[in-house]
Assembly symmetry: C2
Homo-oligomer: 438 residues x 2
């Protein structure tokens, strides 16, 4: 296959007819496919059906230290859950607080707390306009939290080893820059894991704002999909060397480990930050669901239990990721119209189509019954400056649906590229025509 950009006008026109025919054939199938959200599939959820058994029974509903999990109390979470999540995040149990079903809620809450009470300085809402750094492409729900609170978003370029630290080091000199959201392992959507150097530079940051916070959203910390998993440095270990532990708020959850709709989540933070969080949490709730915490601890027993469980997820997910990436290779090799990441874990494949084509691809897919993550959503304010990135979530559809979806998507990507190139030809011709008439 020749590079699309080298094709003649006639070649493009003939390619367009060919692709349009294929596209129209797909349209006739009346498909309803969805690759928009990182949702576990039924097979994955079944792995945790043991949680539905009686694992907290009428005779053993007490914590290791004899607390009745059915009643109020233990605001921090049951001791055994704090221990398990401490092991998971590589911190001490005293640095862990258990929450409800979603780490998103923890992050929302933490930002809300900073707005109302501050994070060591004046409440953020009393400091005028404030800003947050947003590695982009990134997680749309992070951006949504910031927009909700009226915080300005500054996009930071993602490099292959993590966000561009040169920009970050420069931007944090501005004291109105209050923080940054990160997915440090298998980033959403690129599947990039921050290199040791990037993690160290994070720990070494000296922001002008002494109430600057890094939200370390470790959503995919044990979510490897193959035998060459990425390794992420433990941020708190490194931060200790720089005395910067107070700068980091780490969160994780079992949403993509057990049940997405009924898991548990946790925060890891310095003792100072935990104290601040608690002073607010006391006002906010009496306790989170301790029984669900207990179910989870008993189901996994320990970190090895979680790891063994994640291997089963990997078995299910790997073929799906491979279906996507091999579909892309087959369709795009030699065309020069798309590139993508081959992540070792996480939940997404990040596809970059020809600049200026992503929205058109989204439109074409939608009209043929394939829902993608809203194009642009992976960038602050929903605007992809290159109109190029498309986040693919391969987990939910079954493999047949997925193959169909990928095939359709590739046709749309090609069609959009051809349309774009033809438009460019037209423009060039118009320029020629125009100048010959002067």
């Amino acid at each position: 296959m020749a590079l699309y950009k080298d094709l003649s006008k006639d070649e493009l026109i003939s390619l367009r007819s060919e692709l349009t025919k294929k596209y129209e054939d797909f349209k006739k199938l009346g498909l309803k496919l969805d690759m928009s959200r990182g949702k576990p599939n039924k097979e994955q959820l079944d792995l945790s059906n043991g949680l539905l058994d009686v694992i907290v029974s009428t005779s053993d509903f007490k914590t290791v230290d004899g607390f009745d999990t059915r009643n109020y109390g233990l605001l921090l979470g049951i001791p055994e859950a704090r221990e398990l999540f401490a092991e998971l995040m590589g911190v001490e149990p005293k640095n862990v607080v258990m929450y409800g079903t979603a780490s998103l809620t923890i992050m929302y809450d933490y930002i809300s707390q900073c707005m109302v009470m501050g994070s060591g300085g004046e409440p953020w809402m009393k400091q005028g306009r404030i800003k947050f750094l947003c590695p982009a492409p990134g997680y749309d729900r992070h951006f949504a939290i910031l927009e909700h609170f009226g915080i300005d978003l500054i996009a930071i370029r993602m490099n292959d080893n993590g966000p561009d630290m040169d920009s970050i080091e420069e931007l944090v000199k501005d004291s109105s820059v209050k923080g940054i959201f990160c997915v440090p392992k298998y980033s959403n959507p690129d599947g990039i894991t921050f290199s040791d150097e990037v993690v160290r530079r994070f720990a070494a940051l000296k922001p002008a704002a002494n109430d600057f916070r890094v939200i370390w959203d470790n959503a995919y910390l044990v979510h490897d999909i193959n035998d060459t998993p990425d390794e992420l440095l433990n941020i708190f270990d490194v931060a200790k060397e720089y005395g910067s532990e107070d700068m980091f708020i780490e969160v994780c959850s079992t949403s993509k480990i057990t049940f997405a709709g009924a898991g548990v989540s946790a925060i890891a933070a310095s003792e100072k930050n935990i104290d601040a969080i608690l002073s607010r949490m006391t006002v906010q709730t009496i306790s989170h669901d301790k029984m669900n915490q207990m179910r989870h601890v008993r189901f996994f027993k320990n970190l090895d239990g979680i790891k063994a469980h994640m291997k089963k997820h990997a078995e299910i997910l790997r073929p799906k990721f491979e279906a996507v990436t091999s579909g892309f290779t087959k369709a795009f090799e030699g065309t020069g119209i798309a590139h993508w990441k081959n992540p070792n874990g996480g939940y997404f494949v990040s596809l970059y189509v020809m600049n200026g084509c992503a929205m058109r691809v989204g439109e074409l897919c939608k009209d043929a019954g394939l829902t993608l993550t809203t194009v642009g959503a992976t960038y602050p304010y929903g605007i992809d400056p290159y109109d190029s990135n498309i986040r693919i979530a391969p987990s939910f559809p079954d493999i047949d649906e997925l193959n169909k979806a990928v095939e359709l998507l590739c046709i749309c990507v090609k069609l959009a590229a051809v349309e774009k190139l033809l438009k460019d030809y037209k423009y060039k011709e118009w320029l020629k025509y125009d100048s010959s008439n002067i």
Copy 2:
């Protein structure tokens, strides 16, 4: 027994020795009793142990409309839970949103939402100093939420039929008054249920602030303890007559129906308010724990199931309430040093000791091993202007402990009253001595 205020100085001195001896005897027992929080006891929690059975199994984890409760989604809650809670609160399912374990979190969240996004007008945090009305004595955690957000608290006197509506109608003429917290049935701590007239006057309120909100914390809506339960008018039925539905935010939970630490909660509100709540909730979470919602629905089946269940709670609680009130009658009849409410439901007995004595009673109890709700906590800013109210939570201790606790408490109340009367004598004597020397 003579009225304490009519006792001579010598009689008081001799009564003091007698009470002091009894008190010291109690102290020697090294008791550890707690009547501070409205916590269900073990026997009550056992009533809901059916929730620990497999009631959501590997073959029936889907909602009535086929949604997999294990996965993300259904932000509003599962349809059958919304239906059950709609029945419970007497509204339409479309007006109900399910939440996590605690209605306290809903209220916290709602106020937070008003601060950041407003409730129809400018965000509250952009409106300068704002105020909330607080029926007092009231629920300390309501006050804590307001204080947390820097909202000024204005105490409203509780009458026997609810908060003093004359004051409320007057105060809402000030547009910086943004709302009021209420426990309309079996109020915390007085156990008062708002009369039909009070509910109507609430519905008819015309506050100067068009973003005024009444937080209708219906915590004890089915929590009767005897055969003469109070009846509360349905606020949304009445509000409809006045077109004031948008003013009311009702919340309830199963914290004191099933498991205090692992229940479900819900909000009822007008469609306009639900829309506003959802626009925020979308940013905040992906879904609450739908499995726990399902467990609850299947455990109860319907409203009759809840009502039958509450009768069992009443059987357990009634003797405890009676132990407290009959203990009070025995100890205080004819003394004129205390009065109290005999509620038909809820979780508290509200005791009023001689003015200026409550803090001393708290101190005496504490030194003898009996923990009470912090004296003053039932008033805004923790200050009871009469230093008189003590909130008694009889649910948690067993009946023997409770009898002991009540006996000790009554001795402390008497001792504090005698001390106070002797101090008054001393003061009167000093006045006499002083004036005779002029």
